[in-house]
């Protein structure tokens, strides 16, 4: 099975074998990234534009590094500071950029579905770097690679995703991906931070974290946005930490070899105890960052192959 996608808009569109194809290729890029000369010419001559309509340091840096290591010409555009402020619509911005002949467009946007809309108007490969509360596919893929490397497999694992599920595109992409790979998924969090009818997605929902963490292989923590902390969704930061913060006591209920993940940036003392985040025996948070670059290299490599094949008129 080859990778058939023209864009990477979400995990929803991917076949399990396509997920495996990305992860397998990413493994080879992990090796490359660990060498002293971290360079390949895979994307030589191609132009990658990072369009971030929402602030991001980590994801944007990761995509930039991934493109540069593969030899692409990379340009960053901070869209929140530019033409959107002047009233230009998303589609006009897309058309303008399209006229510059980019090959890979990496887009983050605060509204669900916006990257999908943009992809319909350009003739290059589009990578979704997060759209609203919808999807964040490269994050789910890097999480999958981290799990696969730590656990030796990506199926039949008990995985708890904890925290603000309702507002999290990371959670959505992850539960779709981990579901496709046949894992048991638990969602843990206060009911105010759960999307409606989420139990119909084939997941188990827990509002008691101690119960939710019992015997899991993977604990995935999510970031709690500052603006949700005061009274609106949860009573207070300290009550949230007490009930849903990951500390040694709650983690003890998981399997002894359970790993701890977090997409970053972390709020130490809100959703996770700092000592657990730093515990090299449990936390794989730094590995997640490393896998991020490799997975993004793999995704762009595969999309570029399809793009070149399409341009040459050969079947992708």
């Amino acid at each position: 099975m080859t990778f058939r996608q023209k864009h990477l808009l979400g995990i929803e569109q991917l076949h399990p074998q396509e997920i495996t194809a990305i992860l397998d290729l990413a493994d080879t890029y992990v090796d490359l990234n660990r060498q002293s000369v971290k360079h390949s010419d895979t994307l030589q001559g191609l132009t990658q534009i990072n369009m971030f309509f929402e602030n991001s340091t980590r994801t944007q840096a990761s995509f930039e590094l991934a493109g540069k290591r593969l030899g692409a010409d990379v340009m960053n555009m901070a869209m929140q500071a530019s033409s959107i402020k002047k009233g230009e619509t998303l589609i006009d911005t897309a058309m303008t950029l399209n006229a510059m002949h980019p090959d890979l467009l990496v887009v983050r946007h605060p509204h669900s579905g916006a990257v999908d809309l943009l992809s319909q108007k350009v003739n290059c490969a589009v990578l979704n770097a997060g759209d609203g509360k919808h999807e964040h596919p490269t994050q789910a893929l890097l999480d999958a690679l981290t799990i696969r490397r730590a656990k030796g497999r990506l199926h039949r694992l008990n995985i708890a995703i904890c925290g603000d599920i309702a507002h999290s595109r990371v959670a959505r992409s992850n539960l779709i991906l981990l579901g496709k790979m046949e894992n048991r998924i638990r969602l843990v969090g206060p009911p105010t931070l759960m999307p409606s009818q989420i139990s119909e997605f084939g997941v188990e929902v827990y509002d008691d974290m101690r119960e939710g963490l019992k015997d899991v292989d993977v604990v995935m923590m999510l970031r709690l946005q500052k603006e949700r902390m005061d009274g609106g969704f949860i009573p207070s930061e300290r009550e949230y930490y007490h009930r849903y913060g990951l500390d040694a006591e709650k983690l003890a209920l998981a399997k002894p070899d359970a790993i701890v993940m977090h997409p970053g940036p972390m709020n130490r003392g809100v959703e996770i105890d700092g000592t657990i985040a730093d515990d090299i025996n449990r936390s794989v948070i730094q590995e997640q960052v490393e896998m991020g670059v490799a997975v993004r290299m793999a995704a762009m490599d595969l999309l570029a192959r399809n793009l070149r094949a399409a341009r040459e008129g050969a079947p992708a």
């Binding site: 929803e12 619509t89 998303l90 589609i91 946007h109 509204h111 669900s112 579905g113 916006a114 999908d116 809309l117 759209d131 609203g132 509360k133 919808h134 999807e135 595109r169 959505r172 999307p195 409606s196 009818q197 989420i198 119909e200 997605f201």
Partner: protein
């Protein structure tokens, strides 16, 4: 004194609840007589209907014509043509223009525009509060004198309960009809979809269907208090129906409508963020759709409206959350409604009770029926002919229809206003 005889027609009579072959005699723009095939009277003119359906023209409550303010989206001329092509013989227009229709002067302006340009009857609604801001009531008396048939702030829900109760009390003294949008705005703020599995999957901000029932419950309490004459513009959820049923049983002067979109589409039609399916309130779950059809059938929901809302491409070619809500619908109203007939949910007299008779009755109009003396506002249509809708062939200036490219059945052959043809296909 000229007479016209429509022969060989399938008469859809919502008042009698009948659907049979017959003839209809018109005299001076009014219906003079009707009967069954075989005993046709003599007439100056004859129209052979070819066995097709002849029904009272549609009285459509809640049409947005974008004059004044956004004439590029829809003018009285284009809306009037769309109405005629859709079998709508009376347009009841919304006041949510820019600026809104909240003074007798503004009302006179649109009445003049409508008379000059629209081939069908146009009756305007006016705002209930100044600027639709929910703070001070409009000059309800003067506006009625100027021709306002009802008062509504459209989708702006009046949150100041005291202001609303006073406006209802005042309207009651003038026997004015108040049209409201039942919705709890605190709950529905920012929502683009109905909460549930689909909205969760797509990551769209969503509102619980309960917000509609909460809004309706509040309005019903205010009706008990004031005794006003009230119409809920769109009831779209199963949960709101028992409250409506109770209010009617308790003898309150309340009626309810629903939109053609909520009767024929559900939330899944949004699919990959198709903004032409973004309406207000948002499309609901399939269970809600079926419950609302049942309510139309039983008469609990009185009226089907198009909720015609033109939007230009710029307002729709945006991410779903940012895109404007609303759909043009006058021309697709009848073929879409006929899906309920072909699906064997409703018979044609029941359909026209909701499309023509009930809205006319609610507004005190004599049209909407095939009885002697009623204005000869008629629609002649073939309920069966199949076609694929091409949005660029619509008469509206805006083409934001969710039915683009869809297979539909049923077409208007001719529309008559006061006996005069205003549309022929």
């Amino acid at each position: 004194m000229t007479t016209t005889l429509f022969t060989n027609a399938r008469l859809i009579d919502p008042e009698a609840g009948t659907d049979h072959q017959g003839w209809l005699l018109l005299r001076d723009g009014r219906i003079a007589d009707k009967g069954t095939a075989g005993d046709e009277p003599a007439a100056d003119e004859k129209v052979d209907c070819g066995g097709q359906c002849l029904a009272p023209g549609i009285v459509d409550i809640g049409i947005k014509v974008c004059e004044p303010g956004e004439r590029h989206k829809e003018s009285y001329k284009s809306a009037g043509r769309a109405a005629a092509a859709g079998g709508v013989t009376t347009m009841i227009t919304r006041p949510d223009t820019t600026p809104c229709i909240d003074t007798p002067e503004a009302l006179e302006f649109i009445t003049r525009r409508a008379q000059a340009d629209a081939p069908v009857k146009v009756l305007p609604m006016a705002a209930l509060t100044k600027g639709r801001e929910g703070r001070e009531m409009t000059e309800i008396g003067f506006l009625m004198d100027a021709g306002a048939v009802a008062f509504t702030d459209c989708d702006h829900v009046l949150t100041e309960t005291k202001v609303f109760s006073r406006a209802l009390t005042y309207a009651k003294s003038l026997d004015a009809l108040v049209v409201a949008h039942p919705q709890e705005p605190g709950l529905s703020k920012g929502a683009a979809a109905t909460s549930g599995k689909f909205a969760s999957l797509r990551g769209l901000p969503a509102v619980s269907p309960m917000a509609e029932r909460m809004g309706l419950d509040r309005d019903i309490a205010l009706l008990e208090m004031t005794g006003a004459k009230y119409h809920a513009d769109q009831i779209t959820t199963a949960r709101a129906l028992p409250a409506l049923e109770r209010a009617k049983r308790n003898g309150l002067d309340i009626t309810a409508g629903t939109s053609i979109h909520h009767l024929t589409l559900n939330e899944l039609d949004v699919a990959d963020y198709r903004t032409f399916f973004k309406v207000k309130p948002p499309l609901r779950a399939e269970d809600d759709r079926l419950a609302v059809i049942e309510a139309v059938k039983s008469g609990l929901i009185d009226i089907i409206s198009s909720m015609h809302t033109p939007q230009d491409e710029e307002s729709k070619r945006l991410p779903f959350e940012e895109a404007a809500a609303g759909a043009v619908a006058m021309e697709t109203l009848l073929p879409a409604a006929l899906r309920l007939y072909h699906g064997e949910y409703l018979d044609l007299p029941t359909l026209f009770r909701a499309l023509s008779l009930n809205p006319a009755n609610r507004l005190g109009l004599t049209s909407g029926r095939l009885s002697k003396g009623a204005p000869a506002d008629l629609v002649l249509f073939d309920p069966d002919v199949p076609f694929v809708l091409d949005r660029f062939k619509l008469h509206s200036k805006s083409q934001n229809t969710p039915f683009d490219g869809q297979r539909m059945q049923g077409r208007v052959l001719a529309t008559y206003v006061a006996g005069n043809p205003v549309y022929r296909s």
